[in-house]
Symmetry: C2
Subunit: 245 residues, 2 copies
Amino acid sequence: MSTARGARARARIEVTAAIKEEARRQLAAEGAAKLSLRAVARELGMVSSALYRYFPSRDDLLTALIIDAYDSLGESAEAAHAQVAGAGPRERWIAVCVAARRWALAQPHEYALIYGSPVPGYTAPDTTIPAASRVGLLLVGIVRDAYRGKGVARTPLSPELKAEAQRMAADLAPDLPPEAVAALVAAWAQLFGLIGFELFGQFNRLVEDREPFFRHAVDQLAHGVGLVYPEPTGTPAKGNGTGGP
Amino acid sequence: MSTARGARARARIEVTAAIKEEARRQLAAEGAAKLSLRAVARELGMVSSALYRYFPSRDDLLTALIIDAYDSLGESAEAAHAQVAGAGPRERWIAVCVAARRWALAQPHEYALIYGSPVPGYTAPDTTIPAASRVGLLLVGIVRDAYRGKGVARTPLSPELKAEAQRMAADLAPDLPPEAVAALVAAWAQLFGLIGFELFGQFNRLVEDREPFFRHAVDQLAHGVGLVYPEPTGTPAKGNGTGGP
DNA sequence: TCCAAATCAAGAGCAGTGCTCTCGTTCTTG
DNA sequence: CAAGAACGAGAGCACTGCTCTTGATTTGGA
C-alpha cells in the first residue's frame, strides 16, 4: 500500500507465517507423515501450486518447522534455566531436563520431528545446527559453572577415547577436562533417550508414574557428569536423596 | 500339488514371506515412509489389490516388519550375550549394548522403524510386546545374576518413586530391589538414546570416533546400575579403566 | 463324486498426494 | 512508463492406499 518496497515483501512474510502456522497445526494434529501441502493450501484458501512460491518443496517446509521446533524447545529450556539461575548446578541441570521433557510431552509431534527418525531420505541441512544446539549448550554452561566451582566427572578414559574427547572439548568447551565433556555428551544423548522412550510408548505397561522416575533418572545423570548439590553437610540432601555412592 | 490341504496353505505362506522379504528390501533401501504396497506388488509381479489378501493394510505389513525387526535385534543381542556367558556382569552388559548398536548401524531403517518416531497415527499392537522385550529382558537377567553374586545399585529413591519402582519390580524382576529396577529401566532407555543420537545424526559434527565413546558410555551405564568388574583386586581392570569412583 | 463355498488374481476406479508447467494478472523497479 | 519479476490459478502427470467387482481355481462337505 504505502511503502513502495513493502507491500509485496510484507505480504510474503505474512503468507509465509500463515503457511507455517497452519502446517504446525496439522503437524500437531496428525503428525509429520500426514502433513500435506495441498491440505495446508486448501485451509488457507489458496491453490497448492501457489504454495510452492513460498516453500520450494515439502521438505523445505518441514525444515522450517524443524528449526522452529528446536528454537521453541531451546526457548523453553532457557526460560526454565533462567528461573533457577541462582541455584546449584544440580538443580539447574534438573530444571533444564524437566523443561525439555515438559516441552516434549506438550508437543509430541514436534518432538518426533526433531528427535525421532528423520523423514524419508531427509538429511537435516546445516541451517538447523545452531537451533539444535541450544539445549546442549545450556547443559555445557551448567557443567562449566560447576567446574569453576567445585568439580566435574573425572572418570578416566581409554587412550583412544581421550584423544576423541579432547577433540570434542576443543569444539565445545575448551576449559573443561575431556573426561567431563565425554560424560556430558553421553548424558545429553541419554536425556533424550529417556524422553523418547516415554513419548514413543516404550514405557507403556512398565512405568506408570513417570515424572518422579524421570527426575530421579536425570538426577543420576547429573551425578554421572559430576554435578553435586550445593551443601555437602553430612547426610545427603532431602527431597531427592542421591548424595553419593 | 499332492497334499490336499497343503497346496493353498503352503502357497499362502510362501507368498506372505515373499511380500515381507521384498518389503524389507524396500524398507532398507528407502525407509519406512517410502515403503509402497504397490511397488512391492509390482516387484513381485502381482497386482496391488492381490496383496491385500495377505496384509489387510499397509500398517499391518509394517507391524509384521516391526515384529521381525524386534526379533532380529533380540536375536543379535542374545547371540552376543551367549558368546560371553562366562564373563562378569559388566562384560556381558557391554556385549549386549555393543551388539544392539551394531545391529542398529547395520539396519538403520529397521531401527528407526522400532525405536524412532511411530509412523502416522500408528500405535503398536500388543502383538509386538514380547518381541520388543527381548533386549530388555536380557539386561534384566544380567542384573539379576549380578545381584545374586555381589550387589546392584542401591541409590535411595524418593517415597513416591519407591512405590512406583516396587510396582515395576513386581512385573519385571520381583527378586531385585526397587532401586536397582529403577536404575535398570533408566539405563535401558538411555542406551537407546545413545544409539539413536548416533544413528539420527545428532553426533554428526561432534563425535567422530563413536565406537570407543559408546563403549565408555555404556560402561558407565553399567556402573550406574551397580554392575562391577569380576576382579576387585586393587587397581581397576585395564582396557576400559572404570573401576569405581 | 459332485457341487456349493471359500479363496484367489486381476482390473477398474476413487480420492488423495507432491510437483511441474503454463497462462494471465499484479506489483516493483530502472 | 515500460520491462521484468513475482504471484495466483488451473490443468496435468505420476504416484499412493484402498475398495469393489468379475471370473477362475481350490477346498471341503453331502
